[in-house]
């Protein structure tokens, strides 16, 4: 879902943060893409690599931290990892009554000089 545009937005905000912190080149960028965030991580990574070429991120190592959500089984109340929104309880096969986390989409940190 419009990962190219999301990548452009991230580049803008990181460039501004770099400016505020007196950095002229970024060496590492760490972004969290939750598995349930709605963002397609591979497409987003590709888009970032494509769009950063002529920017202060041009040589940066871009690390995407994928994080799963946690489902609470509605039958046995077990907590289980969810990597997509259709995952069900590995114990009894039921669906979650509640989903926690896994929806983050944020820039965690940058390293530069």
């Amino acid at each position: 879902m419009h990962e190219l545009s999301l990548a452009a937005d991230v580049i803008n905000l990181v460039t501004e943060e770099a400016r505020k912190n007196g950095l002229s080149v970024i060496q590492e960028l760490l972004i969290e893409v939750g598995d349930l965030s709605g963002v397609e991580a591979d497409a987003f990574q590709w888009a970032l690599e494509l769009l950063t070429k002529e920017t202060i991120l041009g040589k940066a190592e871009i690390l995407l931290n994928r994080s799963p959500g946690t489902g609470i089984c509605k039958s046995c109340e077990r907590e289980f990892e969810m990597r997509n929104r259709l995952d069900s309880c590995p114990g009894c096969g039921s669906f979650p009554s509640e989903i926690r986390g896994g929806q983050e989409f944020r820039v965690i940190s940058m390293v530069g000089e």
């Binding site: 545009s5 937005d9 929104r85």
Partner: protein
């Protein structure tokens, strides 16, 4: 453009003036609210605006530099080119600006006691027809306002106005969803009254609108019986983020292979709290149940 993710070109969404069919509107007469860099964050204590819990949110940071967060070197540049490598924690929610504007919209609606509903669906499920019938039935008892979203044309806003309610059309151009900023801009032209109902008819799309809070009180997903009863599991995010599911065009059930039971089962698996209304806007089936549901939300 959606100012969160940039889909479409900057400033490319258009909000028609009321009674647009009497004017030519080609200038982008809206303002873009907000700072040039649309995000908010704090550097301390990982405080940031979003709705998600951190329980069960396990991940490891794949690097550990051991670099001190040494801001004394801020602006330290010497002629030898020795630059201190700095790790800057940012913790910026990329969608935070939309969420912030959505909460502003929400506060505005609460203050005016306006019931705001976000109608989402594939194109052609019958959202506009449902609204036309609703307006004709209720407008003598309750003020109704509508914000319409489509890539192009004002045809839906025209239909709404002909059925008796004021409507504002947003054209997203290439954009695939409405966002909170567009709604905020539209509200400047619509003059929604206190104690009214505001329907937002989103762009027909079961994928992208799921991610964008508009400030609504409830989200209503509409599917029609011609779309297949496995629709919910094909688009889980949309069904997980909705409050009411309207299954429309029930008058066509004799002609299609659609099991209402199966569709409800799939949707309930994803979202146990989802409510359902079976409806035919054409014949009137389910409309009373819908009006009762609306009254309950007020």
């Amino acid at each position: 453009m959606c100012e969160t993710c940039g889909c479409g070109k900057p400033d490319d969404f258009k909000i028609h003036d009321p009674h647009h069919n009497h004017h030519e509107h080609h200038e982008h007469s809206h303002e873009h609210e907000g700072p040039a860099h649309p995000y908010t964050h704090k550097h301390d204590a990982h405080e940031h605006y979003h709705e998600h819990e951190h329980d069960g949110h396990k991940h490891s940071h794949p690097h550990d530099h051991g670099h001190p967060h040494d801001h004394d070197h801020h602006g330290h540049h010497d002629n030898h080119g020795h630059h201190e490598k700095k790790e800057i924690p940012l913790n910026i929610d990329i969608l935070s600006e939309n969420n912030r504007l959505a909460e502003r919209n929400r506060g505005y609606f609460e203050g005016k006691e306006v019931l705001c509903l976000n109608l989402v669906s594939s194109p052609g499920s019958g959202k506009t027809s449902i609204l036309e019938k609703t307006i004709q039935a209720l407008v003598s008892k309750r003020k109704i306002f509508v914000i319409e979203g489509d890539q192009q044309t004002a045809r839906d806003a025209d239909r709404i106005e002909r059925s008796g309610a004021p409507a504002i059309q947003i054209n997203t151009g290439n954009g695939c969803h409405l966002d909170a900023n567009m709604i905020q801009q539209a509200l400047k032209k619509l003059a929604v009254e206190n104690h009214s109902i505001l329907f937002i008819e989103n762009v027909g799309n079961l994928v992208c609108p799921a991610m964008f809070d508009l400030g609504e009180k409830k989200r209503v997903v509409v599917i029609s019986v011609t779309e297949g009863d496995d629709k919910p599991i094909k688009y889980p995010y949309m069904f997980q983020s909705s409050d009411l599911c309207i299954i429309n065009k029930t008058d066509l059930l004799p002609y299609v292979d659609f099991s209402v039971e199966t569709a409800k089962k799939y949707a309930q698996q994803l979202n146990p709290k989802l409510e359902f209304i079976l409806m035919s806007a054409k014949t009137g089936e389910g409309m009373k149940e819908w009006y009762d549901w609306l009254e309950k939300q007020l």
